[in-house]
Symmetry: C4
Subunit: 257 residues, 4 copies
């Protein structure tokens, strides 16, 4: 019996959670969501639980105000408004990650070095990575994005970019598919580390050119063999290779974001 | 049959030991203690054994002079006086960690950069992290806190703060619950690393403001879903998820510090 | 029944893939190849799959234009032209690695510090490690080597050296045997890290002298006890110790590159 | 049936190998030896095999010229002369480690920062850590210590100290017991990392005073509870906790170095 494309998407969301945990992008905190394939004003995300422990039963459906669509007794992520606000502001975005990956944090805290792509796998973060400071418009807070107003302020700072750093906190990234946003979030800290080391080595740093960033972006295809290769590998390392839905099932593939 | 709240606390202390080992906060050395729930002049801590190997049988009960309450043939931690002295000086403190987490050490050794919160998960270390140097009052020692006089000197330097660095040695942290002190001790090295990297990147560093630190502190609740999420995740990673006492058992929860 | 030397070579290639993955030289991306022992104009490499997941069934035979020798429906590595072009240009080379090992990347991006051997295990990278920038002759690309023209340009920059860094991308290394190229690729990032740290410590850096590099190179023998020791250890750590062909089987050994 | 003290020592030597591998002090290369308890002109060391793979059958007995005492067909470590020469020069030394632990290497390569104890667990490396450069007396070599003349030159540079760095290569450390030399070798890289980070943080660095180093050294006892705690923990992590000989077996303990 074939798995429905919706069930396959739920499984992919579980895989995404596990990959992000296993690749040290998230720890107890951080989350990943995907827009509902049949209703663009809804999205899917886990209830409040550490990503490594997420199962299909933990996935809930929220609307673009961050409210659960169905009766839900379980606690939700405090910061689900990051996802709601980005999905609201950016119809092109199908998947969102919020995380505190350690090696990105310094770039939101020190102002002398802008985070920009220096390696080809970092190209997907895009030319500009804005830094959002919650204090600019909300003063002294606990730094968490706990309502739609804060979420919308972050989404506004993100603008048309793929990643925004959040000062003293982490980052939000937005992609055209789950696989893209996971990959971007895995390579973001690697790009950050490479840039830090390049600064230490000194001299002139050669960033990716705008033309290179564009060329890589044009070549991206969510279910290409190359993209799948990483997804399959990371899922396998995270212990959920058995949950993979093969992309050669064309029917399923085209239905999925 | 329900587990008593005291037995649950002992298990939590074992979990705390395992988490600190698994998160690289302690290695063969370092320890964690909790104040006795029924007798504030006693506290619970393991006998002299590496935290990763601690079981419920290893927990002993000591008084505020660091002496065992019952006949005890097994060797105790040489530095149990750190715990005794902090519990003595700070009635508000319910749990203490002493550790040598590597990435905190440089801040106790070099004097140009003060360790302060730069990330939201580091806020619990508080505005001020004093550095205690055992040599100031005790001259040339083996750097270990091996009696109450040294322990009290450290507790005095800690003052009303949550963490004190110990020059050339490690740190002591103090919390309102076991979960809080473990979390603080896990995120302390992460905050330290972020600050080191920010210094390397250069420019002005934006620390958390006093208002932000206060806002985060006000929002803290030891058995909130968010706090529990990390505890559950770390315990699970450390291989002792099966020892967790669910916080939805209200009777147990309110009895525990 | 004795394994043929060709089958043993295929197994060695699988082992090489797994070692490179386990030692963090490759992740989902990166590949290793070996020249065909009976036909120097062919080489063996995996189909497009993450190195950690490679099995003997994944190995395909390509010619020096990077084209499959037999009917092949499975997708091939986009960058197989790196291997084809180096085998074409360098008859002395029997094995090639292309990878993105993180700690080598900064040296291709910052121009103030040249990557050179500072530790004895890094000596095999050779006196000179040229940096190839695909943009010099091909302008704005996706940075991947996707045809023979680009591959040949890289091979030309590699010249008679053992390693070329690829700006913003990774490196290509070339050896006289599979074991040599794997070892070189494992120690290349370690040499890079040591050099970075030495720069931070400051003062004059003592690189290996030309005489030392030559002396080490003269002493190298692919199946010496010392070389085998590392191969056996890495294979064992990567979980494929059972696939090792013992070098004391002299017949097999001399037939293999 | 009680294990003889000699057999227990052999097992301790196997444990030492495994601990050093598991703690990343050695990889495929590096070795540890112990002086023969009944014949101070002999010592015990593994045949040429990666430390992680060493078993009791791999241990061989060598004399102070580095030659095997019994008929031995198996290949020996090329650099066994490091051990022979240090045992020859230093009657007080009962155990020797030679390793390439990565974070020590930069201190042998850059001349601006001397490696000295900054943390209490690093005190055992002693006040002075000389750097030996094989090139000073032997010119261009492959950097390996492959004969007694080179070994003696290294031992001379080591002098009365506990550790000598070997430029571009690694270090040699010497202790009064196996447990001491293992512990010193594990904490040496940690001390090196702390010092590197302290240099980055800037300002004045507070090293351990001579009085502190002396106080720690006086307090050291090879089978104290504190020392055993680390040995037990590391052995347990390295998967050979079952091979531990309990130190409470007094007869065995006093017979062992």
């Amino acid at each position: 019996m074939a798995m429905s494309s919706f069930d396959a998407l739920i499984q992919d969301l579980v895989i995404a959670n596990r990959i992000l945990a296993n690749e040290d992008v998230v720890d107890a905190y951080g989350h990943v969501s995907v827009r509902h394939p049949d209703n663009p004003r809804h999205f899917l995300i886990a209830r409040s639980v550490a990503p490594e422990l997420v199962t299909t039963e933990d996935i809930v459906e929220l609307d673009l105000d961050g409210q659960p669509v169905r009766d839900e007794k379980r606690t939700l992520y405090l910061e689900r408004f990051i996802h709601a606000a980005i999905f609201e502001a950016r119809p092109d975005v199908m998947a969102v990650v919020h995380a505190h990956a350690e090696d990105t944090l310094a770039f939101g805290v020190a102002d002398a070095t802008k985070l920009r792509p220096v390696i080809h796998s970092g190209s997907f973060i895009g030319t500009e990575v804005p830094v959002w400071d919650i204090a600019d418009n909300f003063g002294d807070t606990n730094l968490l994005v706990t309502n739609m107003e804060q979420g919308r302020d972050l989404a506004k700072r993100l603008g048309v970019n793929n990643v925004a750093l959040m000062r003293g906190h982490g980052f939000a990234s937005a992609g055209r598919t789950l696989i893209e946003v996971v990959r971007m979030s895995v390579y973001l800290p690697r790009n950050a580390r490479t840039l830090m080391r390049a600064k230490q080595l000194g001299g002139t740093i050669k960033y990716l050119s705008q033309g290179e960033i564009d060329a890589r972006n044009r070549g991206y295809s969510p279910y290409s063999t190359e993209t799948w290769r990483a997804w399959e590998y990371w899922a396998s390392k995270a212990g959920c290779g058995h949950m993979l839905t093969r992309p050669d099932d064309e029917g399923t593939r085209t239905l999925r974001g």
